[in-house]
Symmetry: C2
Subunit: 444 residues, 2 copies
């Protein structure tokens, strides 16, 4: 049996009751994280422009646009929620491949669930199959696939969405194989468009392509049975390396879904250990930021290479400035979306603090490790060594931390009461008889 | 100025009045050919399955599904008409790149025209810009791009559709550059799915992506300004060869649109000279097919390699069988869509004639050249040498031949009177004040 059929067989035939509890738990945690990101992105110009352009063409009000009051057809809901959930660069990451797995999978699956009722247990299992297949296909072509210039979230996202939806629709194996093939032949997304609105279009379009792929396969729309592994199939055409064994080895016993990670801070990942250190010192010592005379950072070389932007002027630049990040978290004790607004980056108190940041590369430090020293006017010097940043595999965010992130993001578009109810609905999705109701709880 | 901006500037700024008359003429001929193919494909299972899957999600009835009585939103009309116009493998071909240019361009443009009125002159000029840009981008990455496994119609089709729609919408150069970038990052389509319904999905999806790209760019949805030529842009990521000069040299003076060609027969291109020869002998000598004792063919090696299928059992196999093609055209004096039905391939008289076909490779013959000898019961042997097949660049189909092809394809879904009116509407598109009205003439 070829790779495509083997994956399809896993999706259609594996007994969902055998999914281990920690795998289910991370799927639900990922759902909360994804929903929070989509709420936080609900007023972003990328989403507003896409909706403005496509609104004349949307169909019946079947599914929610998260964080908004519009309802649109399920295929456009998948597109729009895929955009909003990625546009803040705050969604989940499968570190081994750099896939952001939930955007394509959940944007497709929740839109389907609002249109075609799905019970919560099926919904959670479908998330697992979607993310597992997505990460495995990525593992089979990365890192070469990403290095060539493919935004892997765009390219493998359609497989994940098709897998999740196909599982939820109870496709047979023939249909599921076609669905993966229909997704394969729509795989797209170039890294060249990073820094533009098109980056967030990738998970949106992948969600839409994967959802329609599963629906089309269900009607008998045919595709190749070997779309992933054939000489002119996905893996050979879009990568210079192919590890088909990584796609299918230990299916159902090893769960790559467990390696999915969540970002605690709304900025570049390499900055996270520095933020951790600054935050810890501020919380432990409760000093006044006005008393800080110097912030010394010892870091991995990638920190300066990717984020050594000493004088950012916009929120987007601030997300990739270690100097701004150290200053703002020292100043405000937080590093969420609001701390990367244009206003936050231009705040004179923060700008003054930013100039007190000194950075030194220390050989031997890991990329998720940092040493932070804060010097105060009264002569004290406070030290903290972060061995692993929060959000890394070694020190993952727990449910409480993801919930707090959700609440912060949700506060940009809903009241605290609404946000509390929406969070409770997401958390309880596995126990509901109608997962689509969660989509409605995420509307405003 | 980079390649992407140079192409965008050409699309937005070139004076349409300077498009030479033969370029306009081939654009209109291509429109007639495309519309005929879409009419002929209007009842194909690929289209029926796609419509069945997606019908619940379509929006307002803005545009026609050609050859049918449904109206759907413009984006889904672009998708559906892209599928039907390619599903018979009977649409146009830019031989140097193997792009089928009209499917993506016209499926997007006509759908737009039904939603957003466009005068006929603007419509014809928009076709020219769409096809010209599509062929030029393909020339810049082919043949390597195709050899790797990309279905070039799927990948460059989105640029063509975005160019045509962007010209019709009068985008400014900034918006047009973004539109090409939005199309670039959605470029997709694998040759592995040839022989399945997914092949015709490619021009459909390209039409839809290109149409939405232009509409999104119009609202300010941003993309890279160098999406084609950048190191992680379209040309480097999707090809191992890049000839940027072929994309932009002599813009507005050399028109690759003139190299677009149309197929007279509903089968693989390499079979065309053989059909020409058989048809000529039958027309010149008016023999009874029952009197044929042998059909001898001298052919280029590719004919046997690609189409040496001596015992086809389905219509689709028949399209790639030189034996069936020689037999059916000798038997029926035609080689249109009906001659490649399952029934035609299984007809006992045709099967008997097929067994009388003898094929010999003759070194030195061109791929569009063939020698045909028909032996009759009365002892006569009739010879014909085809130097260039009808439909080749050297011997293109003229308007009358394309019109006859249209009428034959249209007859599968409409009365002769309706077809005559629809053809007249297509032919007169350049003179109408509302090009969208032609879409309605192509409905049934």
């Amino acid at each position: 049996m070829g790779t495509t059929e083997a994956l399809a067989t896993f999706i259609t035939d594996f007994d969902g009751a055998k999914i281990p509890e920690p795998v289910r738990a991370i799927a639900v945690r990922g759902f909360v994280n994804w929903a929070g990101c989509a709420l936080g992105g609900a007023r972003h110009p990328a989403l507003l422009n896409a909706m403005s352009a496509l609104r004349p063409f949307v169909g019946a009000p079947q599914a929610s646009v998260i964080g908004r009051n519009e309802r649109v057809d399920a295929l456009n809901a998948a597109l729009f929620n895929g955009i909003s959930s990625h546009v803040l660069d705050f969604d989940d990451t499968h570190m081994a491949t750099l896939v952001h797995p939930s955007g394509p999978v959940l944007s497709a699956l929740l839109a389907l669930a609002e249109y075609h009722p799905i019970d919560g247990n099926t919904f959670v299992e479908a998330i697992v199959f979607g993310i597992e297949v997505e990460c495995r296909i990525a593992l089979g072509v990365c890192p070469a696939h990403y290095d060539i210039g493919w935004h892997v979230t765009g390219t493998v996202g359609g497989f994940g969405a098709a897998a999740a939806v196909g599982r939820a629709l109870k496709l047979n194996t023939q249909q599921m194989t076609w669905a993966l093939g229909i997704a394969a032949t729509q795989a797209a997304g170039l890294r060249e468009v990073f820094g533009t609105m098109c980056k967030s279009l990738h998970p949106g379009r992948a969600a839409q392509s994967g959802l329609s792929a599963a629906l089309m396969a269900q009607t008998g729309f045919t595709s190749s049975m070997r779309a992933i592994e054939a000489p002119r199939g996905f893996a050979h055409v879009l990568s210079t390396e192919q590890h088909f064994e990584k796609m299918t080895d230990s299916l159902g016993t090893v769960w790559h879904t467990l390696e999915n990670s969540f970002k605690p801070y709304a900025c570049g990942l390499v900055i996270h250990p520095i933020i951790d250190g600054c935050l810890t010192l501020r919380q432990q010592h409760q000093f006044d930021p006005a008393d800080v005379t110097q912030i010394d950072l010892k870091v991995h070389p990638l920190v300066l290479e990717l984020t050594g932007k000493s004088a950012p002027t916009t929120g987007l630049e601030g997300k990739f400035s270690v100097q701004h990040s150290a200053a703002i978290v020292t100043h405000e004790g937080k590093s969420q979306a609001r701390q990367y607004s244009d206003a936050a980056v231009q705040n004179p108190d923060v700008t003054a603090l930013r100039k007190k940041v000194q950075i030194e590369i220390e050989p031997g430090l890991r990329v998720d490790e940092a040493k932070v020293t804060v010097s105060l006017r009264d002569g004290r010097t406070l030290h903290h060594h972060v061995a692993h940043a929060l959000g890394s595999i070694e020190r993952p965010m727990n449910d409480q931390q993801v919930d707090a992130k959700f609440m912060d993001l949700a506060s940009t578009v809903m009241t605290r009461e609404q946000a509390t109810q929406a969070l409770a609905a997401c958390r309880a999705v596995g126990q509901t008889h109608d997962a689509g109701a969660v989509g409605r709880a995420l509307s405003v």
